[in-house]
Symmetry: C2
């Protein structure tokens, strides 16, 4: 059966995250699988590069699926665009090599956590930025971030404990971009644990606010103890930015 | 009574425009006057630089009002921010000279019409951009815009006819900014008639799509006939950008 690669964007505000969950309605996967199923007249199973939590957005999410259809990819893309809700965008659709799998072949992901750092709210960007009113010390945040980069056991930066799975990940880069009052923290790695980017962000924000020092980072990593890391930053600030294969 | 200058932003999607209208609930003026009235314990009347239509946004809207209060401007601003809904932002509040009036003293306004020019939707900016799928010929749009600039009778670019009021306005500049798939058309003038920016935009879009030529512009202006101008572009794409005194 032909294999397809679908590039999506979504504003996650309204959704219970990416992954279909038993009886719970309102996930993005469910929405898309149901729509593709109706258009193609057959059940469709989507694999995504990774799950995104409830309320998390995607500038670029990659999925793959197999289907037998006479529609060209361009025609199928048009159909998708016609019926998708306004907060899910079908960016591109192409036929993929037979063995391509959006999750298994994913080589690198970048998540961006967006902060509006001002005492005045931003009415236009509030759905995908987290507002921090106090000034942030970017220099110490950068220092702390550098100590978190590399291959580490990130168990302390993960919400769910599943002792049988490895919690070792390679955090390849943490970059800071400031444009006016927006601060973007860009996390690039081979993969991320459950809530990992949000806990990393929460911890870095506590450093930026002077509540922790960069030197705490190695100790938190070594502890493998979630309780020692910072709080989980709100989902709304997080966007899956780029996925590489 | 002390006089105040309040700088606002708002996402107009949910609102029936700026101006309080008899019994109609859901205008921004009403929301703010009611809130200021409750905070200050006295009726408050707001003057704005100008009305914005239902669904139109403001990056910068200026208001003035008089009130007797023991609260400092900073304290009053904090109270406003505490109670305003998320789609109305109180950017700044300061005491103004006794004769300052947000509408009467306004010297120049800039409105920006934002277009997402792509066949793929943008899930993040859809509330304040109008999507045009077809390619636009920017060069002819710029030519047409230049022919509309200057002091003219803009009756053809105005929705409501009130024959007793002057429809002469000075359109000082129309600038085009393209950043990726976003096209911004920035209109600067001494004042704008009802729906004027949206009709100017609708007409320029028709030029950009090849349905009209720049040379039609002088003829439309001279006619003073609304029927000869283009369609009224949707409210959602329009943002009041800057107000000068």
């Amino acid at each position: 059966m032909p294999n397809y690669k679908l590039t999506l964007s979504y504003e996650g505000t309204r959704y219970k995250g990416w992954q279909r969950q038993g009886n719970t309605a309102g996930t993005i996967q469910e929405k898309l699988e149901n729509l593709l199923g109706r258009i193609l007249g057959q059940p469709v199973e989507l694999a995504a590069s990774g799950r995104t939590d409830a309320g998390v957005h995607a500038r670029m999410q990659i999925c793959s699926f197999r289907a037998e259809t006479e529609l060209s990819p361009a025609a199928l893309l048009r159909e998708l665009r016609r019926y998708l809700p306004e907060d899910i965008g079908a960016e591109a659709l192409e036929e993929a090599p037979p063995r391509f799998h959006a999750r298994l072949n994913c080589r690198e992901k970048t998540y961006v956590y967006r902060i509006w750092n001002s005492s005045a709210p931003n009415v236009f960007t509030r759905r995908w930025q987290y507002r921090v009113e106090e000034p942030l010390d970017l220099a110490v945040m950068e220092k702390a971030a550098a100590l978190l980069c590399g291959e580490h056991d990130f168990a302390a930066f993960c919400s769910l404990k599943n002792s049988r799975k490895s919690t070792v990940r390679q955090l390849r880069a943490v970059r800071f971009r400031r444009e006016g009052e927006e601060l973007q923290i860009c996390f690039t790695g081979d993969g991320f644990l459950y809530n990992m980017v949000r806990i990393l962000t929460g911890t870095l924000l506590e450093v930026g606010l002077g509540l922790r020092t960069p030197e705490d980072m190695p100790r938190i990593l070594e502890s493998r103890d979630r309780a020692l890391a910072g709080s989980t930053a709100p989902a709304a600030g997080l966007t899956l930015w780029e996925v590489l294969y």
